[in-house]
């Protein structure tokens, strides 16, 4: 169930973009000249079978650095560790993905473990906000994994609306509470 439901969630979020993709597709189609669409269907070309030669391992001259880049020495921990979300929403904004880019580099290089804490603002029910905050933290971890950070390096925790940074009301305060917080763990697993 786990992998399939995750896939469905992904399909679901992709499918929201589908109308746009279809529109883009239509625009391109209409730009193709009619003559181009009336090309002969298929030209049969006789070819000899492809020849594939296996390169012996020893001759494989791709430098190891290209496969696994050496961690840059002293890559600093990114300063910004808070990712913000829109109301009742778990999707990463463009700004959030930009913020996460240095984290991808840092986590790949340093191999450190992180805890990602999800939070919600105080509006609505505590339990629904616990769910929302869980999915926000998972949005961040999933993005990092898709960018190549090993998934074993994450711990995802939802704190719902229980631990706000701002206690005041109003969108300004609420916006600061709708967040995912990336916390680098010391080797023992404790927050640093």
């Amino acid at each position: 169930m786990d992998s399939s439901t995750t896939i469905w969630r992904r399909v679901y979020s992709t499918y929201r973009l589908l109308p746009i993709l279809v529109l883009v597709g239509c625009t391109q189609l209409s730009e193709i000249p009619r003559s181009a669409q009336r090309q002969p269907q298929q030209q049969v070309v006789h070819q000899s079978p492809l020849q594939v030669r296996k390169i012996p391992r020893a001759v494989n001259n791709i430098p190891p650095e290209a496969v696994q880049p050496a961690p840059p020495i002293g890559l600093p921990m990114p300063a910004a560790s808070l990712v913000y979300f829109r109301f009742d929403n778990i999707e990463l904004t463009l700004a959030s993905r930009r913020l996460l880019a240095p984290w991808v580099e840092y986590l790949k290089a340093s191999r450190r473990s992180v805890r990602i804490e999800g939070h919600a603002d105080e509006r609505g029910t505590r339990e629904y906000n616990l769910a929302l905050a869980q999915l926000r933290a998972e949005s961040v971890s999933r993005y990092l994994v898709l960018q190549g950070v090993p998934s074993a390096n994450f711990e995802v925790v939802s704190l719902g609306e229980e631990v706000p940074v701002e206690r005041g009301r109003g969108e300004q305060n609420w916006a600061r509470n709708r967040r995912a917080h990336i916390i680098v763990l010391a080797d023992g697993g404790e927050a640093r």
Binding site: R123, T125, E127, Y128, R169
Partner: protein
């Protein structure tokens, strides 16, 4: 109404109270009761008398002898947060700390016998479900499954606990079966299967179906699912936020946290009453950020959490009139009220 109090003939340090209710104009005795009580139980005695009178004068049963559970939150000196699960008489007196933690506590839920509560604690780092009896035994871990386990709700017969479990990127409703002792017996059945959020299960009084919150339609709304399977049916359609349902004791409808279409940005969340017959929300509360509704076991009043002067406080409202009142609180935040079932604090000795 006439009453007499005498030393008890049966109890060493007891009282015998006789209460007679008259119809003055009709010049007749309507009802009479005699209650024996320990002198240390004066509050129980008063609540029981109130329930007897209320039960005579009204069609509904009185709730004066019921209790409520709630969560308080205070900042200690030095800024550390302290959370307490408290059980008190429904009038707020005799509050007793059942659990204390530096990590958040939430979602207290009464067992149907009124002798224990399930609740959610973050003391393990992530939300897990515990059970605590009123007799003061050590808390018992009921469920710590997946990324988190939360939103406990006892079935009306007490044999099952409906919960929300986050697992593998998905949050669904599961049913955990309980031993007669109240411990989890390890058997868990997944009731909903959807990639959207499904949470906040709430039993209908017949124990054959549950209400829950799901955002499968794009916004959180209330759905109903039968225990024996089948497709969940959406039952809230008005407003772009309906969540946290609790069923009415007579099964005719439910309360939910409701927000309409326009004023949501200003935090306009109120408690709405829905009847299954017409599915129209009737707004019962009038503050901002009203949440956590809980219904009295006689179905006449509700208690909920709201905000007052920047703090979380509890309030009550009537289901069938405009009556509303805030409950006083001395310090800190008070939230997550849960109204107990009827508790049997007295026995009827005569059956006339």
């Amino acid at each position: 109404m006439l009453g007499t109090v005498n030393p008890s003939t049966e109890l060493a340090d007891g009282l015998r109270v006789r209460l007679e209710l008259y119809d003055v104009h009709g010049q007749r005795l309507l009802d009479a009761w005699e209650i024996s009580s320990d002198t240390g139980q004066l509050r129980d005695l008063a609540h029981t008398l109130s329930d007897l009178l209320y039960g005579h004068l009204s069609k509904a049963r009185g709730v004066f002898a019921t209790r409520m559970a709630y969560i308080t939150h205070v900042e200690e000196e030095g800024g550390a947060a302290l959370y307490r699960l408290i059980v008190a008489d429904v009038d707020g007196a005799r509050g007793r700390v059942l659990r204390e933690s530096h990590k958040p506590l939430l979602s207290p839920a009464w067992a149907p016998d009124g002798k224990s509560l399930a609740y959610v604690s973050f003391e393990q780092g992530r939300a897990a479900i515990f059970r605590q009896s009123l007799s003061g035994d050590a808390p018992q871990l009921l469920l710590s499954e997946g990324e988190y386990s939360s939103a406990p709700a006892f079935s009306p017969d007490g044999s099952q606990l409906a919960v929300a479990v986050a697992q593998g990127g998905n949050i669904d409703i599961h049913l955990l079966s309980l031993h007669a002792s109240g411990r989890a017996d390890g058997k868990m059945r997944r009731l909903t299967r959807h990639f959207a959020v499904d949470t906040e299960p709430a039993w209908l009084p017949d124990g054959r179906s549950l209400l829950f919150t799901s955002d499968r339609g794009g916004s959180p709304q209330i759905y109903r699912v039968a225990l024996d399977g089948g497709q969940p049916e959406r039952i809230s359609f008005i407003g772009n936020y309906n969540a946290g349902a609790v069923a009415l004791p007579d099964g005719s409808g439910f309360l939910a946290v409701h927000s309409g279409n326009a004023p949501q940005a200003e935090g306009q969340y109120n408690i709405a009453l829905y009847r299954f017959a017409d599915k129209q929300p009737r707004i019962l509360t009038g503050n901002t950020l009203d949440e956590s509704p809980t219904v009295a076991p006689n179905g006449i009043m509700l208690m909920y959490a709201t905000r007052y002067e920047g703090r979380r406080v509890l309030a009550v409202a009537a289901l069938d009139s405009d009556f509303r009142a805030r409950l006083p609180a001395r310090t800190g935040d008070v939230s997550e009220p849960a109204w107990s079932p009827f508790t049997g604090t007295w026995q009827r000795l005569d059956t006339q």
